[in-house]
Structure formats: C-alpha cells, structure tokens
C-alpha cells in the first residue's frame, strides 16, 4: 500500500500506436500485421538537437521524447530524480559494439557504441539532457523492470526526498533480438491475423517496443491524470499464491467503476495463466488486453499505465476498434496486470483523482 498520495502529473509515450501526439485516443487503433510491431514515431529532429541525436539509438530517442512529453505537460524543466526500467536495455548499441569487437578482433573499438551499450545509458542520458544531478537509476529486472522503477520512485516520494520524479519504462526490438527470440521459439511462427484482440490459440507472442514516461509527484493539480495507489511485484511465487493475492486485490472491484488492463500476449500457455489469475475477479470488471495494441515487451506495463492515466482523466474506455467516451461515466479504478514467463507478476492500481 502506498502511504502518501502520489499523482501522475505528466505522461508521454511512444508506442506502436500514435500515442506521442495522442491521436491514438481519438482515431481507430492501428492494427499491425506481422509479428514485430514497431513504434509510430515522431520526427525526432524536432525534439532533439542534431548534434546530440547523431549518437542516440532509436530507443534512446524514444526515451528522450517520451520524457520531454511528460515533463512538458506539467511544465517541469529539470526532474529531481530520474528512474528508468528496461528489460533488455540498449540492444542496438550492444549489438553494434559486440559485432565491431568481433570484426576488429577486440581492437579499434568505437567508443560511442560502447558508452551507449550499457543499460544505465537510459537514465544517465536523460540526466545529461535535462542537466539533472539528482537520484539516477536504471532498473534491469526482466519483465518487472518498470514496476521496480515505479517502486523506487514511490519510496523517494514517500520519504520526502524529492517532490517530483521522472520515471519510465523502455525497450526496443531490433533485427538481431527478433531473430534470436524467434530461434528460441518465443515469437510466434505463424503470421498474425491483423485484428484486435489478437488470437491466442497459438504458441508464441508478438514482439513490440516502446517508451512511456511519467512525472510523479505528491501534489494534486488540475493537470493531474490519476492517483497511483498500489504497485505489487511478485517474483518466483507459485501460481496458486498469485491467484490468492489476485483474489484479495480483485475483491475490491466495484462493478461498473473498474476496468482491468490485462497483459495477455497471445501465447496460448501464457494467456491461460493470465486468465486463471484474473478469473479471481469473477468477471466483475471488463478486461481489455492491452498488449494487443503495443505487442509484448518487458516494460509494456508502462504503456498500460499511460493508457490507464488517460482513461481515468478523460473517462474513456477501450473497445476493439478505438476508445469510446461514455456519457455519465463513472470509471474510478484501472487495474493493470502484467505477467510473462509465469515467473514475474505485477499489479498496478490507478484511481481517478
């Protein structure tokens, strides 16, 4: 339980939907084909100085612009703390560095790819960009990286060390990572049907990517999106224990006032577990499968949090084609459930403010 009120004061996202300019909220959802869904991206040169952008890989550009979008919304120029979660880190630069290492027999290595190949490049490059000298951390904890970044942000705010924190989650899919994950049998081998929700009767998921950033703070303002009320992270638990935990959480659902954003990723065995856990809610709240819009990646729950924030602020609900505005809507709570590999599970609760 979060001990102090924590509000989402700004939110920015770059994803497989047009989230960066928010047309995603008004237009029909983009239905991708194939098993690798890339981001809908802005012209980064409009956001980042050309001298800086030349060294930045795509995921760093996504982080930078998503962070700028979130900060712009609450007129924040320099965050007191920057915390990022990433499951796989800067894969493009890692591959570039490693391939040059092999090609040049461990000599004459380019410093740029090396510097940017480390995971903590994500938070540190934001600190350099915004000239932030405060707390700076990148969490790399597989599929609960974003949740752990959120937890760190919450602890900082609860302890009163800072009043505003920039926190986000980001991951990229590259040619090499897609190829390796395909060979490992993680990615589905059959061509995906271009539909929302994606069919879940096959093995393997669809690779996605994205970066979503938030400014969290203790003060509620007119611009605040929603209140963050719970972040629960459970690793290595038996599935029956997860179901019990889910049962307690989902028992709080008030019918008609809650929506669940669920992390079904299209893989039949994974989705079976997700369904079992969420069955503890006894169908009291509608379930929307958010990865059907952004694909599967370790920090996709950050995309779900961006969705949840906008759903609560604008009182809109997702359908299979797009968001709809509900008259006299009374949406109070969004519950985000994210699990992959049946090892790491997380719940994020967000409430209307």
């Amino acid at each position: 339980m979060i001990r102090k009120p924590i509000y989402i004061q700004g939110a920015g996202s770059i994803s497989a939907q047009k989230t960066w300019d928010k047309t995603f909220l008004e237009d029909k959802f983009i239905k991708h084909s194939g098993n690798r869904w890339l981001c809908q991206e802005p012209d980064y040169s409009e956001w980042i100085d050309s001298r800086a952008i030349r060294r930045m890989s795509r995921v760093l550009q996504q982080c930078n612009v998503a962070a700028q979008l979130a900060m712009k919304e609450c007129h924040l120029e320099c965050p007191e703390a920057i915390i990022v979660g990433t499951a796989m880190g800067c894969l493009e630069d890692t591959w570039s560095f490693l391939s040059k290492m092999v090609h040049h027999q461990e000599e004459m290595l380019s410093p740029t790819a090396f510097i940017h190949s480390t995971h903590n490049t994500m938070a540190s490059h934001l600190a350099l960009h915004f000239k932030s000298f405060g707390h700076n951390c990148t969490f790399v904890h597989r599929n609960i990286s974003f949740e752990n970044a959120l937890t760190d942000a919450i602890l900082l705010l609860e302890e009163g060390e800072v009043s505003k924190v920039l926190v986000g989650g980001a991951d990229e899919v590259t040619d090499i990572s897609f190829d390796i994950l395909s060979q490992l049998g993680q990615i589905r081998q059959v061509e995906s049907v271009n539909s929302v929700p994606i069919p879940t009767n096959v093995s393997g998921w669809i690779a996605g990517e994205g970066a979503s950033f938030f400014v969290l703070g203790n003060e509620q303002t007119t611009a605040s999106y929603a209140r963050l009320t719970e972040v629960g992270v459970y690793s290595g638990f038996d599935i029956e224990e997860i179901k019990q935990l889910a049962g307690k959480l989902l028992a709080t659902i008030i019918p008609g006032k809650t929506i669940i954003l669920a992390g079904h990723n299209g893989d039949a065995s994974e989705d079976k577990i997700t369904d079992e856990v969420l069955s503890k809610g006894n169908g009291q709240a509608p379930i929307f499968k958010y990865k059907t819009l952004c694909g599967e990646y370790g920090t996709s729950s950050s995309f779900a949090l961006w969705m949840a924030a906008h759903m609560l602020k604008n009182q809109i609900r997702p359908t299979n084609s797009g968001f709809k505005l509900v008259e006299n809507s009374d949406l109070d709570t969004v519950i985000i459930y994210h699990q992959t590999s049946q090892i790491h599970h997380s719940f994020i609760l967000v409430e209307r403010c």
Binding site: S50, I53, R54, L109, S110, P111, T112, I115
Partner: protein
Amino acid sequence: MNELKENLKRQIVDQLNLKDIKPEDIGDDTPLFVEGLGLDSIDALEMIVLLQQQYGIKMVSSEEGPKVFRSVNSMAEFIESQKGSQ
C-alpha cells in the same frame, strides 16, 4: 592529396554520423572542434579509431591530438607524414 582529403571528409561524416553535414560542406581548413564542426571529446576518440581503421596509424602521443585534428588539411598532412615514416 586532394583525393585523400575528400576521402577523409566522407569518412568523418560516416564515422561521426553527422546528419546535417555533407562531405562537401567541410572546408579543407574548417576547424573540426568547437567553433567549426563543433565536435567534442568523444568525437576525438572516434577520429583516433578512424585513423587506425582506415590508415593503420596509431596515435601514440595524446599531445599530438589538437594539432592533428585541427582540420582536414592537418589530418591529411599527418597521414602523409606517417606514410613517409613507415
């Protein structure tokens, strides 16, 4: 010498991923750092790698750097002088 300078300009643009600059935009005597192309210390490291990869020249003294990397002209002269000494 002219061919060497043209090659150097192209290699600098490629190695440093200079998005808004074409090789022909770089004058033979344009300062590469600070007020010229605005390159920085990481670029200096990339240029050292460039010399080694493309021309087989190892910079042994860090004091040589500012003089060698002042412009395309100075880089070309340095490469020529190293060819002569090898």
